[in-house]
């Protein structure tokens, strides 16, 4: 009987969790986990606030698991529709049910019949079927998009739609706001209020529904066209179709290398060949799409809003194969501005070179950029590579390859100060201060040794009621940024940087590496590996001016070149009497033999800072965060196309360089040329460097950018020489090559 009683008492009594390392560290500053919370009631209520962000403000320690779960969900999504639905749920938008359309919208008028006949006459049957299906889907989705704006008055519609001539460029007001902060507008406050009042009335659920339906159709069409093209022995050359349809201009091009200029098509399908696009394809109002089936393509759009830029609509851009070069203006490569913009590159080594607002940016919508394969380089001046503003989700997913991400000024002349510029990139989410809360941004790089370079505000940063995250999967990575970076939240926001594996280097300035500033929280977790951290004030698990910051490093022998006495670093906190609120700084390193530059931080010790800051280094005990995302989705590799022509052998390095510099050279010829250069690297090295530094700058895109990384570590000394002796522009050109040099795998490291 007593045994049963004691069993019952044990089984029904309160379960007291065993205190873990975090509890131990917090106890040293007389705190518990319950103290790690920010008062969400401080928020200024607005129509764009997200409950998810509030939740993270209330419990910042939940952020690592929240981010890993989000990364797992998005990484495992198998269709674009699924991605949009997941994005909508994060934005707390319920996708509306499909509305019944007015009957006359479904009728085919005589005009429609005529375009159908023309499509059928001009194209092979399988292609014609897909084109007609896509045009029908676009007509339908455009009507759904229109229903999103029914609640807006005439004036409010004008605020959102009216195009203004700004410095000879026609811009939408919202675009104008986010790019140039209402330049030329006299009463900015009035303009902002009008803009956000109108924005709040837009039914985002309808826009996202239309995008989900449209993406499903585009993805199906792409699969069908890919299967059809694989079975063909030969496809016609030239422009096969250029036709005005009820859904806008439709263009279908053949298997040759085309150069496309002229008016913007709403729908473009390319069946093969190395093409060059000077037109701003895949962007604009309503439903637009680009399906590029094959070839090493070059995209140099002559206007803003291109390559998967959905503005008041949905835009899908898919490039299926080849090493492609993207050289865009503003608003490109997966930008959703009142809608959804998706840009996907399925294979090859790609260069993404963009100005502002590019590479996965969401504002009142969802912006996604996906790269499935290859060593890629991403450039953006400002606001990109997973960034979001008001009620937006910005997402960049790179599934494989050693990639380099660069966000900042490149050629001088543009910056917020002489020293640095605000990158607002690589997992940056921000609100519009005093007007609207921000959104959610996530940069998800699943594989490879990657390099991240940002200036101020980059690499998992949140600002003004927003949530910014960066998750890097496997690989030895380099992170370099200046202020407000690497898992740093500032001014009422939450942010995190999570590196799941590999030996990593983190170089930061002030307010970085898990830091919170002004009612904000920043969390950084390095899940494994021998890492190096270098930073300045308010960094490495520190809170300042009523903020909270945490840095957790699991395992590995780490080096901390930070924590100078009297700086807020490695567990720095303070109590701000004036505000009646404090800052908490927490740093925990588990496992490994670690090196610290400054006292009192030491291997295997616990230290406390002046007030509310604590650091703990221990070899015993379980890591606080161990749960990492599991992305299981396999990438379908495109079938290798057999070479249809004999490749003439190359005799020397000069000839190989010539081949590589010519954008019309076929893939197999390029591969042969690269092999020649590799064989004669000593001779090729100066030529490649000359090519890299060629004037004008776009000349270097020909060979150097794609070939130097393939040469491997042997090119490192030559690049180092450029860093040492070259000017700023030279260094900027050398950087992406450096970041993508073929390196040994993590196991060899």
């Amino acid at each position: 009987m007593p045994l049963i009683l004691s069993f019952l008492l044990c089984s029904t009594g309160p379960v007291i969790a065993e205190p873990d390392l975090l509890d131990r560290a917090l106890r040293a500053i007389k705190m518990t986990r319950a103290d790690v919370t920010l008062d969400k009631n401080y928020r200024r209520r607005d129509a764009f606030a997200l409950k998810g962000v509030d939740e993270m403000l209330t419990a910042p320690l939940k952020l690592p698991d929240y981010a890993q779960q989000m990364g797992e969900e998005l990484g495992n999504a198998t269709t674009l529709r699924e991605l949009i639905e997941l994005g909508a749920s994060r934005l707390e938008v319920a996708l509306d049910t499909i509305p019944s359309l007015p009957k006359d919208e479904r009728k085919h008028s005589w005009r429609e019949s005529r375009w159908r006949k023309k499509v059928n006459r001009a194209l092979p049957q399988a292609v014609a079927v897909e084109v007609i299906k896509l045009v029908d889907a676009a007509i339908y989705c455009n009507v759904v998009i229109d229903t999103a704006y029914v609640q807006l008055s005439k004036q409010e519609r004008a605020v959102l739609f009216e195009q203004k001539d700004v410095e000879h460029r026609k811009e939408y007001p919202l675009h104008e706001y986010f790019v140039r902060h209402h330049r030329g507008v006299e009463n900015v406050e009035k303009a902002n209020h009008a803009l956000f009042k109108a924005s709040a009335k837009v039914k985002l659920g309808k826009l996202l529904l239309a995008a989900a339906v449209w993406s499903e159709h585009v993805e199906n069409a792409k699969e069908n066209l890919k299967n059809w093209a694989a079975e063909q022995k030969g496809i016609d050359d030239g422009i096969l179709l250029e036709l005005r349809t009820p859904a806008g201009l439709v263009m279908v091009t053949g298997d040759d290398s085309s150069i496309i200029r002229g008016p913007r098509p709403q729908l473009l399908i390319d069946l093969g060949g190395d093409d060059t696009y000077f037109t701003a394809i895949g962007g604009g109002k309503g439903c637009t799409a680009v399906i590029e089936l094959a070839g090493d393509d070059t995209y140099i759009p002559d206007a803003d809003r291109a390559l998967g830029a959905g503005i008041h609509g949905a835009s899908i851009f898919i490039d299926c194969e080849g090493d492609d070069r993207y050289n865009t203006r503003d608003v490109a490569l997966g930008v959703g501005l009142f809608g959804v913009g998706i840009a996907i590159d399925e294979a090859g080594r790609d260069d993404y070179n963009a100005q502002e607002i590019a590479s996965g940016v969401g504002v009142m919508g969802i912006g996604i950029q996906i790269d499935l394969e290859g060593h890629d380089s991403y450039f953006v001046r400002r606001m990109g590579q997973a960034a979001s503003v008001t009620r937006g989700l910005g997402l960049l997913i790179d599934r494989a390859g050693n990639d380099s991400y660069f966000a900042g000024r490149r050629y001088g002349g543009w910056s917020t100060s002489r020293e640095f510029s605000a990158s607002a990139a690589q997992g940056f989410a921000g609100g519009v201060r005093e007007y609207t809360s921000g959104g959610i941004a996530l940069l998800l790089d699943l594989q490879g040794h990657d390099s991240y370079y940002g200036e101020a505000i980059a690499q998992g940063v949140g600002y003004w009621f927003a949530l910014g995250m960066l998750i890097d999967g496997n690989g030895n990575d380099n992170y370099q940024a200046l202020h407000y970076s690497q898992g740093s939240g500032f001014h009422f926001a939450v942010a995190g940087l999570f590196d799941n594996a590999g030996n990593d280097t983190y170089l930061g300035g002030v307010t970085c590496q898990g830091s919170g500033y002004d009612y904000s929280a920043g969390v950084m977790v390095d899940y494994s590996g021998n890492d190096l951290y270098k930073s300045s004030h308010l960094s490495s698990g520190s809170g300042g001016v009523t903020g909270m910051g945490f840095l957790f490093d699991n395992g590995g022998n780490d080096v901390y070149l930070t924590g100078r006495p009297r700086s807020h670093s490695l567990g720095g906190g303070q109590f701000v009497k004036r505000r009646g609120f404090g800052c908490i700084g927490g740093f925990i390193d588990t496992g490994g033999k670690d090196y610290y530059l400054y006292e009192p931080c030491k291997d295997n010790s616990l230290w406390t800072r002046a007030q509310d800051g604590v650091g703990l280094d221990t070899e015993k005990g379980k890591a606080i965060y161990a749960k990492r995302m599991k992305v299981t989705r396999k990438v379908d590799k495109p079938a290798q196309q057999k070479s249809q022509h004999a490749v003439a052998p190359l005799s020397n390095v000069e000839e190989a360089m010539k081949k590589l510099s010519n954008w019309r050279t076929k893939k197999d010829e390029k591969e042969q040329a690269v092999a020649v250069l590799k064989k004669n690297l000593k001779e090729a090295e100066p030529l490649l460097i000359d090519h890299l530094l060629a004037e004008p700058f776009y000349m270097s895109f020909g060979a150097a950018y794609s070939v130097i990384p393939q040469m491997g570590a042997e090119m490192a000394p030559a690049l180092v020489k450029v860093f040492e002796t070259g000017d700023a522009e030279d260094r900027v050109r050398a950087f992406p090559c450096w970041g993508r040099l073929s390196r040994p795998s993590p196991s060899e490291h």
């Binding site: 040293a28 705190m31 009646g580 406390t608």
Partner: protein, 195 residues
Amino acid sequence: MLGKTESPQSIGTLTAGLADENYRVRGTAALGLGRLEHKEALPELLKLLEDPNHTCRTWAAMALGRLKDDKATDALIGALGDSHYAVRTVAADALIQIGTPTVKSLKAVWNGDNSVLRSRAIETLARVAKSDLRKEIEKGLTDTEALVRASACRAAQFAGIKELAQPLRKLSQSDGDSNVRQVAAEAAQVLSKLK
């Protein structure tokens, strides 16, 4: 703003503000009354110290500190065990502002069982009653709880008891807890510089 004007006419508005439904109004009204040192507001401020919102409780504790009324001692001692750290920190500050009348109550907490409260009490006591504390601090330096030992080191530093520099130096080398060693070394360094 009304608090900052230091005008007695604003007292009525501020007192009414203590019952406002918005927590920030309640909190700032408390701060205003504290700034005006309006002792009649003591019962309302003590009530606000039990507000569900921690910001309100923090600002109420701040205001009570400014009133320097020893009648608030018990409530502030209770607030040392508040669920939010900001309230606990500000309550300790308020007790220091009230000064000597709080010593008895703080010593009672120091002699209690709760080691977190004891550690906070010894640090607060050191700032209130500097000279009479040597025995308590010496006892604290040998406590079984590392948290209390670390607080006793800080207390010795705050109280400026030079005679404790030597035992602190010893502790900085012999203690089993790295944080106690660190805090003891810092305190010993400060005390040895005192003239």
